[in-house]
Symmetry: C2
Subunit: 228 residues, 2 copies
């Protein structure tokens, strides 16, 4: 065996990025070993820009390729490592998963994650000033509406996109776990959503995410607690 050609993946990431967390969850669920490299992408180092002209994380080095864009990365991993499956087989089922992944990475991200996490954490870390209270209030209002939408889905299904766990659950859990790190999720709002999060949080794939630490932002005690 030629270890220089090892299949080990390397992920350039930041700990609280929901897009990076989605890729980490997929890799872990598929039992693909990954070396995590923290990347201060906002400093735009020449090395990083060479790896990724879009100047974003995640960047995954895998199979001899350097890949950007979290959802295309997850679809690639799914196609190369189909077990355990994170997309159903039917076109209808796959559509519903992809719709929800987009819902969280687009709508939830714009309305909630960018207004809470980016205001409270990213601005400080990137030295871009103080949280804008209008944004924080809008994010705090919007997260309630999204939790209610999740509760409605989960009243009809065991997991967000159907009766099996899929990439949609990982996309949602990636955003919620990042917000939970800064105590911005009210788990008392819905027992259904809390039960869903408890199930996903207790998976081995979640361990590395629960161990994350961001200097200057210690997580609350309940963050890593499986009995939160």
């Amino acid at each position: 065996m030629d270890y220089s050609q090892s299949a080990m993946a390397k992920l350039y990431h930041v700990p609280l990025s929901p897009f990076c967390r989605k890729v980490r969850l997929v890799l872990a669920e598929k039992k693909i070993e990954v070396e995590l490299v923290e990347e201060k992408y906002w400093e735009e180092s020449p090395d990083f820009l060479r790896r990724n002209p879009a100047a974003k994380v995640p960047i995954l080095k895998f199979d001899g390729k350097t890949m950007a864009e979290s959802t295309p990365i997850c679809e690639y991993i799914e196609e190369k490592h189909p077990e355990p499956a994170l997309l159903p087989r039917s076109a209808e089922g796959r559509y519903e998963v992809r719709r929800l992944v987009n819902w969280f990475d687009d709508k939830f991200h714009n309305e909630v994650t960018s207004k809470l996490l980016y205001e409270r954490v990213n601005k400080k870390v990137m030295k871009k000033g103080f949280p804008d209270s209008t944004n924080v209030k809008a994010g705090a209002r919007a997260v309630k509406y999204h939790l209610d939408y999740m509760a409605w889905l989960l009243d009809h299904r065991r997991w967000l996109a159907g009766d099996v766990m899929t990439l949609a659950d990982f996309a949602a859990a990636a955003h919620l776990s990042s917000l939970d790190y800064i105590s911005d999720v009210d788990w008392n709002r819905s027992d259904t959503v809390k039960d869903w999060y408890a199930k996903i949080k207790s998976r081995p794939a979640f361990r590395s995410i629960l161990a994350d630490q961001v200097p200057g932002f210690p997580p609350p005690a309940h963050y890593a607690d499986l009995d939160f």
Copy 2:
């Protein structure tokens, strides 16, 4: 034949939305007949909100389902109607297409489309005030960088994601055609990009897009001209 169960699709759209145009191109390329219904989604009519809680277009009624989110819709159509193929077979090839679709629908959209088309057209149509000249200037700067990136890709490949036309070309052409409607693309910047656009513009699938008319915004003469 039971015509009440006709497979005909119905698309709720706005003419210049690049996300709607991408879906229109895919349907037309696959020769799936579609009825277009213009949807003033910003007026948030109760009927439309019932169809689509995200209050966005496109919404596609197809196969007895009501679908939102343009890329998941395109992936669904591709899975149900695989010919002619708009995604390659290999995981590597599919990754590259999806990466570029994301590039245009995320990065290009944020840096260019939202700063030019939305400032110049959407604000007026939605009665949301006047174009912000800082945004317009930023968009006009950014489009040059994106055209150069496309030229670089097309110097290495016949089409954006490889040697065959894919969904990546439709995503790019959807954005560029909307911007071309308001004369915001400088086709003199790169012969390579202009040749690529001439090829894609002359496809039968493009005809309906070239016939679009937005009241108050007559297209320039070159818009529908295949010899622009």
